[in-house]
């Protein structure tokens, strides 16, 4: 038995996050009977805008695709169903799982695939806009997508903000029209506040993971991430993040580690192979813990520069004294928040990805990086090879491995274990 260097214990809010996730998916199944609007679109869709319509649910495509992908048997049927319609195997695998489930009319959580009233999306990668074009045609329902102008933070911010705000206004008018509901600006304003709080609090929690030992490990982070990804514009999400923040602060203060034998801290980058999360448990045998990735910290996070020059969390629009009284105020605040999020830099050019990744590696005190060449998401791999070179140049050891986040069919498990072993050996680590 390896010597434990630190105290560890399970997270108190673990059962809560599981419950929130299940409730979210169950609510979607029964929403129509309950008179709620059923909407579907991507995880990036500006769902705060839906709030002004009153009761609604939003089936978020990527997490749903990941959920299907984590069940290799169902996933295989879904993927084959999509391929039978002529779509290529190298397209986004979340989407291929989601489409397959839709074509088979089988909802992962039981019953039929939820028929949407309309689709609502934000377009960032080449897939986003097209994914729901196909869904809206399948169901014969209306579709709206906002085009996000991807660029580096701070670049051409004024004109990009105006572009987003104009589209948001267009979206609200469209939502009113297709839903036949009257739009409530108060609900929109609340939702925007919630979304920014969820995002800010999450970033603060992630920054706490700079502590040695790390209070959280990547596998747990993926579960804790759920409210932020699925319903960050709702009050339940903000409440959850406040509780989680307190708990993680306590863990840091008490030196409670995610991994009692933490000896080596690693950075990873994108979505994991969801059917192979045991990768993280395997690393633990070496006393290695993945403490951060741009994906977990920044997919919906917004860091603020701290006085000491490090990343913490951005100030909430309310803390900045931004007006939040009208529809336009709310849409502007949301646009501004989104423009500050590093995730779009990461999707922009390798230059931005290098800069952000190097900073994560340094600030989170990592000893090496594992990069996932994820065939399932093209934008996740934009610049990965350049970032690998940039990390190596800074003396940070890197391992890359190939897989697909939600398509297990070509996954070579033995090969990845071999790669992990030799990488850990190179880092001078032995199994405990």
């Amino acid at each position: 038995m390896a010597r434990a260097d630190y105290e560890t214990r399970p997270l108190d809010c673990w059962p809560k996050v599981k419950e929130l996730r299940l409730n979210y998916y169950r609510e979607i199944a029964t929403a129509r009977q309950e008179g709620k609007l059923v909407v579907t679109g991507g995880a990036d869709a500006p769902t705060a805008l839906l709030a002004g319509l009153g009761d609604y649910v939003h089936l978020s495509g990527e997490p749903y695709g990941a959920t299907v992908g984590s069940d290799p048997q169902l996933s295989q049927q879904c993927l084959e169903e999509t391929e039978a319609r002529g779509f290529a195997m190298d397209m986004c695998s979340y989407m291929r799982n989601y489409w397959g489930s839709m074509y088979l009319n089988r909802y992962f959580f039981g019953g039929e695939f939820p028929r949407p009233d309309f689709c609502f999306q934000m377009h960032i990668c080449d897939t986003h806009g097209k994914w729901w074009q196909v869904v809206s045609e399948h169901f014969g329902v209306p579709y709206f997508a906002v085009d996000f102008p991807v660029m580096a933070r701070g670049e051409r911010e004024d004109i990009r903000r105006e572009y987003l705000v104009a589209q948001f206004h267009g979206a609200v008018e469209w939502l009113e029209r297709v839903s036949g509901r009257e739009y409530n600006d108060e609900l929109l304003i609340e939702a925007v506040k919630n979304e920014c709080w969820s995002s800010a609090l999450w970033t603060e929690i992630m920054a706490l993971n700079k502590a040695v030992p790390a209070p959280l490990d990547q596998k747990s982070i993926f579960s804790l991430f759920v409210p932020l990804v699925l319903f960050r514009e709702k009050k339940e999400s903000v409440d959850f993040h406040r509780v989680l923040l307190d708990e993680v602060k306590d863990r840091v203060a008490g030196g409670i580690a995610a991994l009692a034998t933490e000896r080596c801290r690693l950075l990873d980058d994108v979505q994991p192979p969801w059917y192979f999360l045991k990768l993280y448990r395997y690393l633990e045998q070496y006393g290695a813990v993945v403490v951060a990735s741009w994906y977990s910290v920044f997919l919906f996070g917004n860091p603020g520069e701290q006085p000491d020059g490090t990343w913490g969390r951005a100030l909430h629009p309310e803390e900045r004294g931004m007006p939040l009284r009208t529809r336009d105020d709310a849409l502007r605040a949301l646009a501004q928040w989104l423009l500050e999020m590093p995730v779009y830099d990461l999707h922009y050019l390798p230059q931005s990805k290098n800069e952000i990744t190097l900073r994560l590696a340094r600030e989170w005190h990592t000893d090496g990086a594992i990069m996932h060449l994820n065939r399932g998401c093209e934008i996740a791999c934009m610049g990965t090879m350049e970032t690998r070179l940039a990390l190596l140049k800074e003396g940070i050891p890197v391992m890359t491995y190939e897989s697909d986040m939600a398509d297990k069919r070509q996954f070579d498990e033995a090969k990845v274990y071999d790669q992990l072993d030799s990488f850990m050996e190179n880092l001078g680590m032995t199994k405990l």
Partner: protein
């Protein structure tokens, strides 16, 4: 003139170097046909499209993940091999992630004195797209002015629009000739005409186009074969087209960014020049990456199929090209329902076209039973 088009394509680097020496001007490489070349031309710059070479290469793998389209990797490889060492700068407009990474890697490893990214809207028909693109174009113009140290007056932009629109009008006129029963030029020649336009000074190219129009035979004496349309990703593989045409096919029309999409629509005047240019690029026949929520490609393509008497469609798709992978299955379906058979070829720019011979042969046979 047709021979001239071929020469320019073949010796594109010599042409650009020679142009530089002749004029003392700057040459700028661009990665995507959504770049509004008029503004560059108005600044006295020669824009040339960065293309691949179709040769196997192993220099881009360290920089771009291999599941990115071979075209984007081939473009970067050309830069890394020093073939574009005469470029003074590079520019791109947002189209797809693959080509954006090629642009980014280029900037990391091939220092240039000027680069610019145009945030071209991905949803061109949104009312917010016009003012946004106009603002983007104003920034582009200013950045060029800063770089070259000289103002770009509106009259120069107007004049560039004229030259570019002449080019578009002439190429469209030549394309129209292909509607005839025996068109005066082959698909490979037509593609070289468009490619050479992307690689040369438009004013000079306009002269060659006018000459070509005079030289083309009218009526009888043109080409014959099974009338085909090409649809797909970036494709400058004239070897593949020659192969198809050597086997009894005749390409009469296309929907490629190296073909009709490059020149199909002109700048509609009436607004200030930058707004008019923005309108033109937002309304050009769409790349699939920019064709959502509504589909504008379907009616456009079906219109061409009818007008050009298309008997069959060949899809030429770059491996891993996501934008086209979305549109090909539903489009093949639409064509089938309209009685137009199609063949789907997935190409890797660096793989010889010969591998498709059998499939092309079978497809052509199906279109015209009894063809030898």
């Amino acid at each position: 003139a047709v021979e001239r088009f071929h020469q320019v394509v073949e010796s594109r680097h010599d042409y650009a170097r020679d142009w530089k020496a002749r004029t003392g001007g700057k040459v700028l490489g661009y990665f995507c046909t959504y770049v509004p070349e008029e503004i560059l031309y108005a600044a006295g710059i020669l824009p040339v499209r960065i293309l691949g070479s179709h040769e196997p290469q192993d220099v881009s793998e360290r920089h771009i993940y291999t599941m990115y389209c071979p075209f984007s990797r081939d473009c970067l490889a050309q830069g890394l091999k020093g073939r574009y060492d005469y470029l003074d700068g590079v520019v791109t407009a947002h189209s797809c992630i693959h080509i954006r990474q090629a642009f980014g890697s280029w900037l990391l490893h091939l220092p240039v004195s000027y680069s610019h990214y145009i945030s071209m809207p991905a949803k061109p028909r949104d009312p917010a797209a016009v003012p946004y693109l106009k603002a983007e174009l104003a920034l582009f113009r200013r950045s060029l002015e800063d770089w070259t140290g000289r103002a770009i007056p509106e009259s120069d932009i107007d004049r560039a629009i004229e030259v570019y629109d002449d080019n578009r009008r002439l190429m469209r006129q030549i394309y129209e000739l292909r509607r005839a029963e025996s068109p005066p030029l082959s698909g490979a020649e037509a593609m070289e005409m468009v490619l050479s336009s992307m690689l040369s000074d438009k004013e000079e190219h306009n002269g060659w186009l006018a000459q070509a129009l005079r030289e083309f035979p009218r009526g009888e004496g043109g080409r014959s074969g099974i009338r085909l349309m090409l649809i797909g990703s970036e494709d400058d593989d004239t070897e593949l087209i020659r192969l198809i045409e050597s086997m009894g096919g005749l390409v009469v029309i296309d929907d490629h960014c190296t073909g009709s999409r490059y020149f199909w629509n002109r700048v509609l005047r009436g607004k200030d020049p930058l707004s008019s240019i923005a309108d033109r690029y937002l309304h050009k026949p769409a790349c699939p990456a920019k064709d959502y929520q509504e589909r504008t490609r379907w009616p456009h393509i079906m219109g061409l199929v009818g007008e050009y008497g298309v008997q069959g469609v060949v899809f030429i798709q770059q491996k891993f090209c996501d934008p086209h992978e979305f549109d090909i299955p539903p489009l093949m379906d639409l064509l089938r329902r309209s009685g137009v058979p199609s063949l789907h070829l997935e190409v890797d720019v660096t793989v010889p076209a010969g591998q498709f011979k059998t499939r092309i042969e079978a497809f052509l046979e199906m279109l015209e039973p009894g063809l030898d």
